[in-house]
């Protein structure tokens, strides 16, 4: 599923990020790699952007980026 579809409070493991695009190189550099565990902390009051937690810190990104990130939900 897509990272943007993750429910609030749910956790997932990143499966795949797009190869190109500055946004995704930067997301990788910020530690979002295939195999990284993330959880969706909250969605901004107006529905975008989203806040995720990974590697012990919180990161916001827009849904337009999050929908290109594929994840495997962890139950």
């Amino acid at each position: 599923m897509k990272l943007s579809e993750l429910a609030v409070g749910a956790s997932a493991v990143i499966r795949e990020l797009p190869k190109s695009g500055t946004a995704f190189v930067r997301l990788r550099e910020m530690g979002m790699l295939a195999g990284t565990r993330v959880s969706l902390v909250r969605v901004a009051p107006l529905g975008d952007p989203i806040e995720v937690k990974l590697r012990g810190y919180h990161l916001s990104l827009r849904k337009s980026e999050a929908e290109h990130v594929l994840v495997d939900p962890v139950t």
Binding site: K19, A23, F24, V25, R26, E29, A34, A44, E51, H58
Partner: protein, 707 residues
């Protein structure tokens, strides 16, 4: 038992040259606090030539009193730069900047609570082959979160001195100074494997960088690695470009990898994180799982769909209330002091042109600008407070959706909001916006937010507009709100337009860290406020002084006969003649040459319009009381006897002031922040043009409707 390597064998450096340290780290890891703790007030703040990135250099003293130079580089997540700030950090570390020598040694600061992501930058820095000291900050916060960070293990894994630190209360700073004053520092023995598919490219780029670009071998390797993730996409003035040969090699490899489907950038990032992962695994143990942190609990309210907006509104109300109430007394004080100074000079100097130049030109002109300094400082203080507590990122998070409608991101929100008080701190606060085009768009539209200097103009015009001595409160508030709304819609409209035409770019990203809430370091916030205020005075000072003198000259020359009144003097001055020259252009707006004089002189600052009208119509307004001036305005006539200040003309003038760029300080700041005259001139053009067109529509439309 042997002492840790950074304590044993301490020999103060004996070389006569002061060692230069660069301080690098991620944003929000306590870097500025450490810099302040190391250098105290011994710092110099300036700019990197050609870029609007702050350059901070300070002097620390070793335990033996030896001076050590420390350059505080802008916060960066990676050397693969995505913003001008990060580009400067990259360029200084790689020795690409002619204005800043490559630092001898590097001080890396990391946040203990977030070691993995922080170590990414450290990992890139270690490639540079310079001695590195690692400072692990916020050890106390990490301990509270149940994280055990083993300093000795980190030292063992990396082979460099590692210092545990709590910069907020100064713990660890002495150890750090001891390590910094060591004559010899070990180079890192940390080794990692460049992924095999890209290793040949790294080797080839490295060879070309040392042969064609004259880079030393280790720097060449570091730069080669960087080029594969960076692609040199963010360039700033003052850094040397790549040689043609190196650029060609890079392009060839990229084409080849694209054809093969090799994911070069991410395989590099992956292997760095693999190496970091094993370091972190050896050094960090999580003792039990901590529950929701305080930040989590605060954010439940701060970003809540109801409470979040309420809190944001409350914060902003507090901000504006404090600007208007707290600034009042210092503003009066400055006003009185400037007047007293002018009087003292008048008494001390013989009457004449030189005296008038000093008192009416220089002192009055500069006084008109520094009167806004209290407001500007309070704004800087608030912006600093919002940044250091972590709330700034939440405001951006909440507002991003709205700002994205016009193609900006949430980070433009605080700069634009600050511009309601004064565009200068707003424009200077745009430095937190990474994307250069977004930053420029924000700067271009910031003066549209109705600032406090427009208030005297609005109030005078409302008084002249409404019949009767007293303006009903509701009418006053209603008209004011209309003006604020017009400016705000204008700002968003133009932002939308510019993002689609002139400054078209990729949709801005909103990849932003939401740092944990922290208690603000008051010392750091105050220091930041003073630095910013000083920077404004120093940078804008000369332009403001120059234009003030020119405007004074225009109003004072040519001299009228000695018995002329100030009104007659102004009428026949260059400014008065310019008013006449301007009249054909502003007559379609309902303005005559006398209003034209006000438009010219108020280019210094909008509120000057009020005092100019006082001189033009020979009715000095006494401080707050606009009654005599209001009556003089209402008595003013066109040569054919029609009243000049009809309600429609007053309203049109207000519209004009909503849009026109009537502020020399803003022009000076935009010139400094964009590093060219092109943008401030464009800004004057488009804003004043819009002001004219809208005033024309309102006036002619109003006339057609019978007003």
């Amino acid at each position: 038992m042997a002492l840790p390597s950074h304590i044993s064998g301490v020999h103060p450096t004996s070389s006569s040259r002061t060692p230069v340290y660069a301080l690098v780290g991620n944003p929000n890891c306590g870097k500025s606090t450490l810099f302040n703790a190391l250098t105290g007030l011994k710092q110099k703040v300036g700019n990197y030539p050609g870029v609007t990135v702050e350059k901070k250099v300070g002097t620390a003293y070793s335990q033996h009193g030896q001076p050590i130079t420390v350059i505080d580089l802008p916060g960066a997540y990676s050397l693969a730069a995505r913003s001008p700030d990060e580009a400067v950090t990259r360029d200084v570390l790689l020795g690409r900047r002619a204005d800043t020598p490559q630092p001898d040694r590097i001080l890396c600061i990391v946040d203990a609570t977030n070691l993995e992501r922080n170590l990414y930058l450290v990992h890139q820095v270690l490639d540079l082959g310079r001695p590195v000291i690692l400072v692990v900050n916020m050890m106390d916060v990490a301990a509270q979160a149940g994280l055990d960070v083993r300093i000795d293990r980190l030292e063992h894994e990396l082979g460099i001195p590692v210092i545990a630190c709590e910069a907020v209360n100064g713990r660890g700073v002495i150890d750090l100074k001891l390590a910094m004053s060591r004559a010899d520092l070990p180079l890192s023995r940390h080794a990692w494997d460049v992924p095999p598919p890209i290793a040949p490219a790294v080797a080839e780029l490295q060879a070309s960088l040392s042969a064609s670009d004259g880079k030393p071998p280790l720097i060449a390797r570091a730069e080669a690695l960087l080029l594969l993730t960076d692609q040199d996409s963010v360039r700033v003035a003052g850094s040397t470009p790549l040689s043609r040969r190196t650029a060609e090699i890079l392009r060839n490899w990229q084409q080849r990898w694209e054809a093969e489907g090799t994911d070069w950038a991410s395989s590099l990032v992956n292997s760095r994180y693999d190496a970091i992962g094993s370091i972190a695994q050896a050094a960090v143990t999580q003792a039990g799982s901590a529950g929701p942190t305080l930040s989590d609990r605060i954010d439940r309210y701060a970003t809540h769909p109801v409470w979040g907006w309420l809190l944001l509104g409350l914060m902003m109300t507090a901000l504006f209330l404090s600007i208007f109430t707290l600034a009042e007394h210092p503003m009066n004080f400055i006003d009185e002091s400037v007047a007293a100074l002018a009087d003292a000079v008048k008494a001390a100097m013989p009457a004449g042109d030189l005296r008038d130049l000093v008192t009416d030109g220089a002192i009055a002109g500069v006084g008109g600008v520094i009167i806004f300094l209290p407001q500007i400082l309070i704004l800087f203080f608030f912006i600093g407070l919002l940044e250091s507590t972590g709330y700034m990122a939440r405001a951006a998070f909440i507002m991003d959706r709205l700002m994205s409608r016009v193609g900006l991101n949430g980070k433009s929100f605080i700069p634009l909001l600050s511009s309601y008080a004064c565009a200068i701190p707003g424009i200077m606060a745009t430095r937190t916006i990474e994307d250069q085009k977004d930053r420029l768009v924000t700067i271009l539209v910031a003066p549209l937010m109705s600032c406090s200097a427009r208030l005297p103009v609005y109030l005078l015009m409302i008084a002249a507009l409404v019949p009767g001595e007293q303006v009903p409160l509701l009418t006053k508030v209603g008209i004011m709100l209309l003006m604020y709304a017009l400016g705000t819609f204008g700002a968003f409209g133009f932002a939308w337009l510019f993002k689609r035409t002139l400054l078209k770019g990729e949709p801005p990203l909103m990849i932003m860290e939401l740092p944990p809430y922290r208690l603000p370091g008051m010392k750091d916030v105050l220091l930041h406020m003073l630095e910013r205020g000083w920077l404004f005075l120093r940078r804008a000072g000369t332009v403001i002084l120059g234009i003030s003198v020119v405007l004074w000259f225009l109003a004072a020359y040519p001299k009228a006969p000695d018995d002329a009144t100030p009104t007659q003097q102004l009428a026949q001055s260059f400014a008065g003649r310019a008013g006449h020259t301007l009249e054909p252009a502003i007559k379609p707006l309902g303005f005559d040459w006398q209003i034209g004089i006000g438009l010219i002189t108020s280019f210094a600052a909008r509120e000057v319009f009020v005092s100019t009208m006082g001189v033009v119509f020979n009715a000095e307004a006494e401080d707050e009381d606009t009654t005599p001036l209001r009556q003089a305005l209402l008595a003013a006539r066109w040569p054919d006897g029609r009243p000049l200040f009809t309600p429609l003309v007053c309203f049109t003038l207000m519209i004009f002031y909503v849009f026109a760029m009537q502020c020399v300080s803003t022009v000076a700041v935009v010139r400094r922040e964009t590093n060219s005259w092109k943008w401030p001139l464009f800004q004057i053009g488009y804003l004043t043009g819009t002001a004219w067109i809208l005033s024309f529509i309102v006036y002619q439309g109003g006339r057609a409707l019978g007003f």
